[in-house]
Each structure stands twice: as C-alpha cells, then as structure tokens.
Symmetry: C2
C-alpha cells in the first residue's frame, strides 16, 4: 500500500504499527446481509481457557470427566459457528483463566483459534481472570488487537484518557448496495468492566468508571447525530447493544417471575453502583446489555426499556453445574423491508441460546426490541 | 491594577470580565484562622426566597402566620452569622423558590443579601427551584457569580464540557504566616445536582452526570498530588467536603438507628443511581457530603467512611413542620498543633446544627472525621 504524499508522519506510524501487528488484512466493515437483511452475533462468555488438552473440565458428569478438557470448549465454539454461521463473534471476558494458563499468548491463540480460522470478524473484551497468566490487562488486550480477523481495539483515541483496556465501539452498516451501506444501523459498545476494586473500602469486583461512561455518552451522542443526519437521515436512534463481562447491580432486579432463562446463583456485580445503567438509559439508544461472569445465570430481564442479559457459562474449565449444559447466546437484528423492496432500518432484535448437547438445542427465544413498540422512547 | 507586560490577551480579557462583573474585590483565598487553627462553614439549605416581605411563610404555628414572611429567613441568616461568625457561608440550592419570585435577580439579591453585607466569603450551588423565575439555570448561576464577596464559579475551565452550572472547587489554605499558607488543607467540592430528569423513561429529580464525576475525579486527583508534593509535602490526602442540593440514593441507607438527627420524610434522590457515591468513595478524600432538598430530614449517617448529611430546612417560604424549628448546619475543621507550636494539618471535622429558636439552640454535635481514626484509609 503506497502512502499518499499528504499522509503525516503519525498516520504513517499508525499504518506501519497496524501492518506489523499480525493482522493479515484490514478490518472489515461490519454490515447487514444483503440477502436476508440480518446481522447475527454469537456471544461466547467465560471460555476460561487454560493450556488446552492438559487442562481438565470442572463440574461435568462423572462419565464425562476422563475425556474432558479445554478442547471441549474449542469444539463447542466450532459447533456454534457451524450451526449458526454468525456475522460476528464476541467474547465477553474470562476468555482465558489466567491462573491455569502457563502462557497467556498460547492460551489466547488456542482459545480464539476457532474464531480466527472461521474467517468471521470477531472481537473480545476482558473479564476478571484474563490478566492472571503471563500478561497484564494491557498486554492481553494488545495481543488480542493484533490477532487475525479481529475488530478488537485497545481503546478509543480521544480527548481524555479512558480507564481500562478494550473500550471501543463498532458500527454495523446497512447491506452492501443499499442506500444505507455507509450508515450504521446497529451500534455495538464494548467495554472493560474491570477486574477487582482497588479501593480499600470497597470489596469485590470492578466497575465501569466515569471516564468510560463519558466516552460511551459522547460516542452514543455522535452516532445518534450521524444516524439522523444526511445522507439517508433517519428518525430516532439506531439501536445499540453493549457487551462487557461483569453484570450491573441492576441485574439483581430479576428472578424467575420477570425474566427469561434461569438465575441459579447470586449476581456478582460490583458491590457499589457506578451509574452505568443510568448512563445508558439516559443515552437512549442501547436496547440490551450482554454480560457473562456468573456462569449459572443465563436470563434476560427488562428494566426501564433495557434488557439485561447473561449468556450463561460456555467454557469447560470453569465452574458450572454437572448435567446443566454449557451454552452460548445468539442475537440477531433484522432490517425491515421498505415499500420499494430494499432494506430499511432495524425492525427487531431477537435472541436465543444454544446448549452444548447433541442437537445444540435452541432455548429461550425472545424478542428483545422491536421498532414499533419502543422507538418512540427518545421523543421528548 | 496594572497588567504585567507578559500577560496574554486572553488573561487580560478574563481580568477585565471579572472587574466588570460587579464584584468589588478579587475573591479572597479561603484560609484557616491563624489564631484558632479553625475553619468554620455555615450551610444554609433551601431558603426558598420569594419576593420578601410580601411572601408568606409555610408550615408555621398559627400565632406566627400573620407576621411571618421571607424576612424571617433573612433574619435567621443574620442571626446565624452573628452567632457563629463563620469563615465561609455555603448556600446549597433552592436559594430562591422561583415560582413565587417575580424577579429572579431581586429575589437573589435579597436572599444572599445578609451574606454579601457580612463581608464573609460565600458560595452557592443550584437546587431544583432556582430557575423557575425569570432566569435560566445558567442565568441564575451567572448572576450569583457576579455578586459581591462570592467565590461561586460558573463552571471549571477544562478539557471537556461539564454538565450543569456551578461545578467548582475551593481550596482552604493553611493559616497566614504558617508553612502551609500556600497549601490547601481542606478541599470543598461544589456541584450542580440538576433539577429534573430529562429522560422520558426516568421520572423524578436530576443527578450528577458522568462529565461532572470525571471533573470531580480529576480535581480530587490533582489536589491529592499537590498535597503530597513539595513544598510542605503531606502524607495521605487533604480531607474534602462536597456540597450540593439533591441527596444521593445512598442517603436512604439511614434511619434513627444509624444516624444522628431525624428522618421525617422520604429521601427525594433521583430515582436512579448515577454512581457519584462510588466515585467519591473511590477518590478517597471526601469525608462528608452535605445536601438539602428534603426539609424535614436533618440527619448525618456514615456509609463506607463517608458521612451523608442533610442541613435541614432553613427557609420560611418552604414546606416544613409547624413547631419544628427551621435550622442550619455548621461544620468546623480544626488543625492539629505541631510539636513546634505551629499549625499542622486537619485533625478533626465536627458538625452541629442551630435551631431558629430564641436561643439559637445547638443540637446534634458530632465528630465527622478525625485524623487518627481514618487517615489510613488510602494506604493500599
């Protein structure tokens, strides 16, 4: 690639850094399918990868113990990719279980391997265990960003420093050849929910900090402005989905009476409320939040117009429940057909889960959002 | 005042703007008393000023009704100033009750009048009623900033735009002539807690936004660095006090069993948690938060090392409880004596309230913080 003469030294440096980062191609622009008008996301939560074949499984049935290892996690990723053929794969942290991974790079290369070789664009955020091997959180995220076919980013370039590593947003454009092919119709927000509190008087897990919330707020505002601007100015806001590891305190609002899926353990959010739920409600575009962290919870519940969803535990070298299948969450956003027969904006967002059983059973299918019911929310 | 030759055009402009703002003198640097090693703050919450003599009182005894007006509020401010001789007066919002003030400027001039004429430095933040007369929130705060003897500021100059009007910090330096006369030993954070939610799906009052929290976080961090830097480098962090109008959701943690003072009505915080309590706990320097808004609550309760205190209702044209005296809160920070007989850093922060009865009775005196008990909190 020849550099245009007007390209500054810094830009050249960035391009060179990118080309030397191990990626074989420039990241592709995510877009809705021109054939089906859909965009499908596979969420893989808590792989807890260790050293591969040598790393045993936790909480499986007695008959499964002998032959079970990290390779079962790998096989499940492959089966999910084949069964669902997603447009995008997102790994929501605890991708590796650092304490049992003797080499973070090798563990990550193996863990993300099926995504890399599938050729499908993928991205990851960090959990609370990813930095427990041979790399810091920055080191882990930097390695991920350099892997093939990933759209992961270290952090946004911006006016202020953002806490954590792996805060970024991804746009999903309209279908190729359609009038919205250069416009984002679905926005994905990826955030680093931290690992553990570093404040002596606050025990427990980390949280999304004010700097990250301000970044999110500015990004959401920018995307909403762009969505409603020419060309192809749209009404309202493009729906957004947020992916991160640790659930919010608001996840505790749900039980079996007001959610779909199960709550089989406590909500291991931070012990304090850092206000991110308020920030996303105020922004107005996010329709659902997807986390992992609590492997035995896989529910979705709706609060103030926003669905808070767990994916359920995916990895075999992670606590679970023997006989209760490992699982993954799928989300699909669908475009409406315009009167002229082309694709319009997002009309619905649906989700379901797949179990790692013989049939990869589909369970708990539900509509998270539809244009008709809630798109008036932002009209003041 | 002659401008030094090296003064830039922008700085000159700022000085000129200040000199033309109506202030008769440059704001004074707040400092501890050289005689007593103390700094005393009078908090006046919810004056709810209207038009003065014509504006009647609410919720007073039948025998008080005929002769009671805003002038009783004015008289109470004067009595408090004479009785306590504070070093600083802070008005925590609903300074005027806009709906019943036919001219916001006149109402504010009357409401803050006793502070202005006392010659004591004073500052104000906004409540949810201040903008209901003839000026917007920005207009109200701009007028306040231009008044005599005030240290109020419109907003910090900084890298990012901060939500609201009247977010600023004030430093209280060591005593004149002491080694810390150029160092802040006590930090005051003033914030705009907003008026009402503008988010359709969130009812109720406003809240402190991510932009304000990031400003607070950066300011606290800068002040802590300065406190521990030469000259006169100190250990730990200088204690901080935060003043704003609307209580936090965490104020609801208290009842008569775990607080000092009374809780006679619900906690009218925002209906959502915007995370500011987490942000101040994480910052580590703030020892107490002082709000108004709920006139019938006047308690202080401690949560995670931070006291959350109401001042209790002050103004007569505000709801209250007949026979339950209007009141104000006083806070005094005291310096320790060093072995060499000079003043050291803050050793204790105490508070009490005064009632608007014949004797200006003092009640609920308590220690909010002392150096020996909690100054180790920030040691990791």
């Amino acid at each position: 690639m020849a550099a245009p003469k007007e390209m500054g030294a810094l830009a050249m440096l960035l391009v060179m850094a990118f080309l030397s980062s191990g990626s074989s191609a420039l990241p592709r622009q995510l877009k809705f399918s021109a054939k089906h008008g859909e965009f499908k996301i596979l969420q893989v939560a808590d792989m807890h990868f260790g050293n591969g074949k040598r790393t045993p499984c936790q909480d499986v049935l007695p008959r499964q113990v002998a032959s079970c290892s990290d390779l079962n996690t790998t096989a499940f990723v492959r089966r999910m990719i084949l069964a669902e053929r997603p447009d995008f794969i997102v790994f929501t942290g605890d991708n590796i279980f650092g304490f049992d991974a003797s080499d973070a790079v090798k563990s990550m290369n193996a863990a993300f391997g099926p995504a890399v070789t599938s050729g499908i664009p993928w991205a990851a955020v960090l959990g609370n265990h990813d930095q427990e091997s041979t790399l810091s959180r920055e080191g882990v995220m930097t390695h991920i960003v350099g892997m093939k076919n990933t759209l992961s980013q270290l952090n946004p370039a911006g006016a202020h420093v953002v806490d954590g590593f792996g805060n970024y947003n991804l746009e999903v454009h309209g279908a190729e050849g359609s009038r919205t092919e250069n416009k984002s119709l679905l926005n994905l927000y990826m955030l680093d929910s931290g690992d553990y509190s570093t404040v002596p008087s606050i025990p427990g897990y980390g949280w999304i900090k004010p700097s990250q919330q301000l970044w999110f707020q500015h990004t959401s505002s920018r995307l909403q402005k762009s969505y409603s601007s020419k060309p192809e100015a749209q009404k309202g806001a493009a729906p957004g989905l947020a992916y991160f590891h640790i659930p919010l305190p608001e996840h505790a609002s749900f039980d079996s009476t007001n959610s779909t899926g199960v709550r089989q353990e406590g909500i291991s959010s931070a012990t304090v409320n850092s206000g991110f739920f308020t920030t996303i409600v105020a922004a107005g575009d996010v329709k659902a939040v997807f986390t992992g962290h609590d492997h035995l919870n896989d529910f979705c519940g709706e609060l103030t117009g926003i669905h808070l969803c767990y994916a359920g535990g995916f990895g075999y070298h992670a606590y679970g429940k023997a006989g209760w299948s490992r699982r993954a969450r799928v989300v699909v956003a669908s475009l409406e057909k315009t009167q002229k027969g082309s694709w319009g904006t997002v009309k619905a967002i649906k989700t379901w889960k797949r179990l790692d059983d013989k049939k990869l059973s589909t369970i708990d299918a539900q509509v998270l959002w539809s244009k008709s019911s809630t798109n008036t929310q932002r009209i003041l």
